[in-house]
């Protein structure tokens, strides 16, 4: 067999764009499943080998040197067509600088490749787009800053955590960001970066309470306090849920053993907790108790409704709340899994023993400090104890 053969990746024939026709107009409808079909004719490589295609988009006056978006054609780049969804078009329009509800033009062409050799089709075409409401590109991070917040300026912006569904009760759509932080009436700004690094995308909340891009100021009019702020960029909504009164309490008797107050920087703390493990006959012990009992969790008020914070692992002390996660049922003694002290919002309907932790022996009958840190940059929110 011929060993001297080598690949010829030169593109010896380029195709032409077929559709959509030049200056075609589309009003983007994120609710619609209708896809837009981009198609063209084939290119040929020197040895007849595979040619792959990418559709590139640029601003109306762009030259595709730095395209604003690109997509491999159907079947991973191998077909002569690309079916783009409405949200994808929305992203392109947004990247082209077309604002929400505005209309503008983008330019597209096809890049053919053989091996590492990439060549643009000589021709390009314009597409006219009208954008809907809603944020197109979900940022990785989000920060708020300004007089209404704990952070005075962009650099000290208060971080948000992007929510995912972790417990069976969780039911978040994509694009929700949360921060537990202090607010007071006043103005603030929202950005996807907390450093002066281009490009920063700014968001704001308009008079109708909808989230929009743009670096205008937003206003907080509510009561001063600690809030669980949730920014829903997918649906352009914001909620402020007031949090107060976080208590560590014992599940067996419902008695509070520490009251945690907000210390800033996403942290609640109590430095005068005290608990004596319940044994049968202890004045606080329920009469059914037949063993030493020390299970606790937290309760708090969210917008005036009692709600619970607990672990993700103990569902009635048997299985975990999370599929396949094993429950750690002993008192923490150093061999507990690293996620043992993570905290989760269990909602207001949590069953009596769900999400319980056990006290470590060393906190029996000694004053302690307990702290919950809703750190948006940590893997998860967590709590911790210290001996006083």
């Amino acid at each position: 067999q011929d060993n001297s053969f080598s690949l010829d990746i030169e593109l010896i024939g380029l195709g032409t764009l077929h559709g959509p026709e030049n200056n075609f107009h589309i009003s983007i409808d994120p609710e619609s499943n209708e896809r837009v079909d981009f198609n063209w004719s084939a290119a040929t490589s020197g040895d007849g080998g595979l040619v792959l295609y990418r559709v590139l988009f640029d601003r109306e006056d762009g030259d595709f040197q730095e395209p604003i978006a690109s997509f491999p054609s159907s079947s991973g780049g191998s077909l002569l067509t690309l079916m783009l969804s409405q949200p994808a078009l929305n992203n392109i329009a947004s990247a082209a600088g077309i604002g929400q509800l505005a209309t503008g033009k983008v330019r597209w062409t096809v890049e053919a490749s053989s091996g590492y050799n990439k060549v643009l089709f000589p021709q390009s075409s314009l597409l006219s787009l009208t954008r809907p409401e809603g944020i197109a590109n979900l940022p990785d991070d989000l920060y708020i800053f300004g007089p209404a917040t704990e952070g005075a300026d962009l650099e000290n912006g208060i971080a948000f955590k992007r929510l995912s569904n972790q417990l069976p009760i969780d039911d978040f759509v994509t694009g929700i960001y949360e921060s537990i932080t202090y607010l007071k009436p006043g103005e603030f700004q929202i950005a996807d970066r907390n450093a002066e690094e281009e490009p920063i995308t700014y968001f704001h909340i308009n008079e109708e309470g909808r989230v929009r891009t743009g670096d205008q100021n937003s206003t907080f009019n509510g009561e001063e306090g600690v809030y669980r702020i949730r920014l829903n960029l997918t649906q352009s909504r914001v909620t402020y849920e007031k949090i107060d009164n976080i208590e560590l309490y014992i599940l067996a008797n419902g008695l509070k053993k520490a009251e945690l107050s907000y210390k800033g920087n996403h942290t609640f703390e109590s430095n005068n907790g005290y608990f004596e493990f319940l044994n049968p006959g202890h004045p606080e012990a329920p009469d059914w108790l037949g063993w030493e009992e020390e299970r606790y969790r937290f309760r708090l008020s969210v917008n005036g409704e009692t709600s619970y914070i607990g672990s993700n692992q103990n569902d009635d002390m048997n299985g975990s709340l999370v599929p396949n996660l094993s429950a750690y049922n002993g008192r923490p003694n150093g061999s507990q899994p690293p996620y043992y002290h993570q905290v989760f919002f269990l909602g207001s309907e949590a069953s009596h023993w769900q999400g319980a932790w056990k006290f470590s022996n060393q906190f029996n009958k000694v004053p302690f400090t307990v702290r919950i840190v809703f750190d948006p940059k940590a893997d998860n929110y967590y709590h911790e104890f210290e001996l006083n």
């Binding site: 079947s75 991973g76 569904n165 069976p168 999370v322 599929p323 396949n324």
Partner: protein, 500 residues
């Protein structure tokens, strides 16, 4: 004379001789590869590396396929062993008649078992009930399958009459009377003889019970639980199988030889019993594994799955495209479908893959499903039937709400229900799905076109579900396997199946 073996002429002397010979016949029941990989030729799974299984699954095969030749030859080797045994056991003087009858019955069961499988795969097959010569083997013709089938039934009836209902614990694993009855019920079911299937299955009701936890049923510590009617016996170190190598993710030293398909994953309903296609089901395509029938988690490893590794640590399996090392198509070791298998996972496995986990071939839940299916086909499936069969199986699995309620629907719907239930409950076990899609004659529907894996959106084909294998099923010939080329090459008297 050899120093390490005795002559056939002097072998059959003691009870031990017959027992030891019978032991080797048990090993013929089914090998671990067949147990698992038959399912890779169904719409439940795909084998990237086991070429012969893969090629049957996608229709690219003929009579020279190695799996087909192996199934044929290993079954006939087992049949010869049974014939030898039945020809010689009477030579033994020092054995009680009770033991002799029991041994003979076990051998008859195993021989009937072989013929059942041969008939399922090939239709008409040579019926050999004696030790034949090479010359005879070169002249054999195929026996009509109705004769093979009546032979199977006769043999099973004799076995039922001679076998005990149970054995002392050191004999656990032997064929019991109940195992034969359960098997005979299944043969009738496969043969659409629903009256007999139902009546035989009903004999086992309340003789066994469902193990309380579905996932635990397939774990090493529960080997002898009261749901198991017949299992292939394995023991750590002494007799192990390495199925796990084909099942678990590379990060746990697996190889993804056997990959569940999206079609199976989609069959698991929501926890409330509603199909994921039901608008009321609350199924979230972006969080597709949440709130599903817990048997999904007990059977399939999916993206984001959390499990214990061999050191006892909890690890999260990332099967997202090209994630190292377990991601979809990251390497030749990793899953081509986005899924691995959690059923049969043995954290105690020696060298991480050599497992002593028994492989269940008949269990009570199957008997219940056989019963339910037979009753549904007979049109006499009642609330009470539901409660003891599908209802009980679902409750054990952890389904809730309406999933447990007797559905007030017609035979069509019930049939679809029991078929789905069977697929889910028995997933990856003993080739059930492979045989079921053939006997239900649905193979041309479910084995045609692209077999898909998890949703990746890397391509816009199939709504973003990744292509795994293009399958073709030709109902004109694929329902029966061809007689192996090796056999027709040697014996021109063997006719070939239609269109092969």
């Amino acid at each position: 004379p050899p120093i390490d073996a005795t002559s056939e002429l002097t072998f059959w002397q003691t009870e031990e001789d017959s027992r030891v010979f019978l032991n080797s016949m048990y090993a013929d029941l089914m090998n671990s590869d067949t147990y698992l990989f038959l399912n890779a030729m169904s719409d439940d799974a795909y084998s990237r590396e086991k070429e012969d299984y893969r090629n049957i699954g996608n229709g690219n095969f003929d009579s020279s396929n190695g799996v087909i030749a192996d199934v044929w030859s290993s079954r006939y080797e087992g049949i010869r062993r049974a014939n030898i045994f039945l020809n010689n056991i009477d030579r033994i003087q020092t054995i009680t008649e009770e033991t002799r009858e029991s041994y003979r019955a076990q051998a008859r069961f195993i021989r009937a078992w072989h013929y059942f499988y041969l008939r399922e795969f090939f239709g008409n097959v040579p019926l050999i009930t004696d030790e034949i010569s090479i010359d005879q083997s070169l002249q054999l013709q195929r026996t009509d399958q109705s004769i093979v089938l009546s032979f199977v039934f006769e043999e099973l009836d004799q076995a039922i009459n001679s076998l005990p209902e149970s054995y002392p614990s050191e004999q656990n694993g032997r064929i019991t009377k109940w195992a034969v009855i359960a098997f005979k019920s299944k043969v009738h079911l496969y043969n659409r003889e629903y009256e007999q299937a139902a009546s035989l299955a009903s004999q086992l009701l309340d003789k066994y019970s469902l193990h309380p936890n579905y996932a635990d049923l397939f774990k090493q510590p529960n080997a002898g639980n009261n749901e198991v009617i017949l299992a292939l016996q394995y023991v750590p170190t002494d007799r192990e199988h390495d199925l796990q190598y084909s099942l678990i993710p590379p990060s746990l030293s697996g190889y993804a030889n056997f990959s569940p398909l999206q079609e199976l994953v989609d069959t698991y309903p929501m926890r409330n019993g509603l199909s994921i296609n039901d608008p009321m089901s609350n199924y979230d395509e972006n969080n597709p594994y949440e709130n599903r029938d817990p048997r999904l988690e007990a059977s399939v490893i999916y993206n984001g799955y959390r499990m214990r590794d061999f050191s006892g640590n909890i690890v999260t399996i990332d099967t997202s495209p090209n994630a190292a090392p377990d991601g979809l198509n990251f390497s030749s070791n990793s899953t081509p479908s986005g899924y691995y298998v959690s059923k049969f996972y043995d954290v105690e496995a020696r060298n991480q893959v050599n497992s002593g986990l028994n492989l269940i071939v008949i269990r009570y839940a199957e008997v219940l499903l056989n019963y339910a299916e037979a009753k549904i086909e007979l049109g006499s499936f009642t609330q009470q039937d539901w409660d003891i069969t599908i209802g009980a199986i679902r409750a054990r699995a952890g389904l809730i709400d309406n999933a447990l309620q007797f559905p007030n629907v017609g035979q069509e719907m019930l049939r679809e229900m029991v078929r789905k239930e069977r697929r889910i409950e028995l997933a990856f076990e003993a080739g059930h799905r492979f045989f079921d899609i053939k006997r239900w004659r649905i193979a041309e529907e479910v084995l045609d076109g692209w077999a898909l894996g998890m949703r990746t959106n890397s391509s816009d084909d199939h709504n973003g579900y990744v292509r795994v294998d293009l399958r073709t099923f030709d109902p004109n010939k694929h329902y029966l396997w061809p007689i192996p080329l090796r056999e027709t090459d040697l014996n021109k008297n063997l006719s070939q199946n239609p269109n092969w």
